[in-house]
């Protein structure tokens, strides 16, 4: 059964997930901050746009640490790839999927105020019922979308 559902093994998934959880936990213990990743895509605009949708007090207050946290993500992945020499295959997903998918995901995550990390990890860990519902909705819709794309041979 394990071979069927986890053809590449389970260990690296569990270990990686544990590290992600420790990262979010240590952030909370050290700084009290609750860190989902999608907010940074909105808060960076507060440096460039005078639109009140970005000049929100909570954006101005959190934009520095969110950018620093994102820089950390880049750093950690670079350490994995270049510091330890682990291979990371360059994705072959066609550019339109990446661009359009990114646009819709960015719009939706900001509309719904959370993504896989914000609702999925932080929200559920806060025992927030709405976050749990959000996770079920985006997992369900993503599964349907991905299956449709394959089914239609797109």
């Amino acid at each position: 059964m394990i071979d069927t559902y986890f053809p590449l093994g389970m260990q690296h998934y569990l270990a990686g997930g544990l590290l992600i959880g420790l990262a979010v936990s240590a952030l909370y213990l050290g700084t009290g901050l609750v860190g989902g990743m999608s907010s940074v895509f909105s808060t960076v605009w507060s440096w460039f746009s005078r639109c009140p949708g970005f000049q929100r007090e909570d954006f101005l207050r959190s934009r520095n640490w969110r950018l620093l946290f994102a820089a950390g993500l880049v750093l950690g992945a670079a350490l994995w790839r270049y510091g330890l020499g682990n291979p990371v295959p360059v994705t072959e997903i066609p550019v339109p999927y990446l661009l359009i998918g990114g646009f819709i995901a960015g719009f939706g995550a900001r509309l719904g105020n959370g993504c896989t990390s914000g609702h999925g990890i932080c929200g559920v860990a806060s025992l927030n019922l709405l976050s749990l519902l959000a996770v079920l909705v985006f997992l369900g819709v993503a599964i349907i979308t991905a299956q449709l794309v394959r089914g239609l041979g797109l």
Partner: protein
């Protein structure tokens, strides 16, 4: 910057790095692996999500009960309350984008550090999507 401010910033950066390292180890910065979960070829993503959420759940629930405040800040924060319609509508749209690309915000950012350059298209798309969202919904918080 005082020493407390430095410790605060260093913690944010180090935790981000650990997050990015974990995403890389879990191969979540490879959209093909994420799509193979969404297509039920490999359920690994569930393990990542459960391990990460389980660990965080323990700390989120215990820390405020055991500690008076975080090490380098005044108070533990909470996720703000949101309205049901916008949250679930946004989640559904997010699911469409995620299902199309296999990329969500964390891996899009982390993937750049690992030289997975096509993910720049995703980062650009997400920035644009967040911009349009902010413009359309400016002023109406809910």
């Amino acid at each position: 910057m005082n020493s407390r401010g430095f410790a605060f910033s260093a913690t944010v950066l180090a935790c981000g790095a650990l997050f990015g390292f974990g995403l890389s180890l879990a191969t979540m910065i490879q959209p093909e692996v994420v799509l193979s979960f969404l297509r039920f070829d490999d359920l690994g993503l569930l393990l990542v999500l459960c391990a990460a959420t389980g660990t965080t759940l323990l700390v989120y629930q215990l820390a405020p009960r055991l500690l008076r405040r975080p090490l380098f800040a005044q108070a533990f924060r909470l996720r703000p309350d949101e309205t049901m319609r916008r949250t679930l509508g946004g989640a559904a749209l997010f699911g469409v984008g995620w299902g199309l690309s296999g990329v969500c915000p964390g891996p899009a950012i982390a993937g750049l550090g690992a030289g997975n350059w096509p993910l720049l298209w995703c980062v650009g798309g997400m920035l644009a999507g967040a911009y349009v969202q902010g413009r359309w919904f400016s002023g109406k918080r809910d």
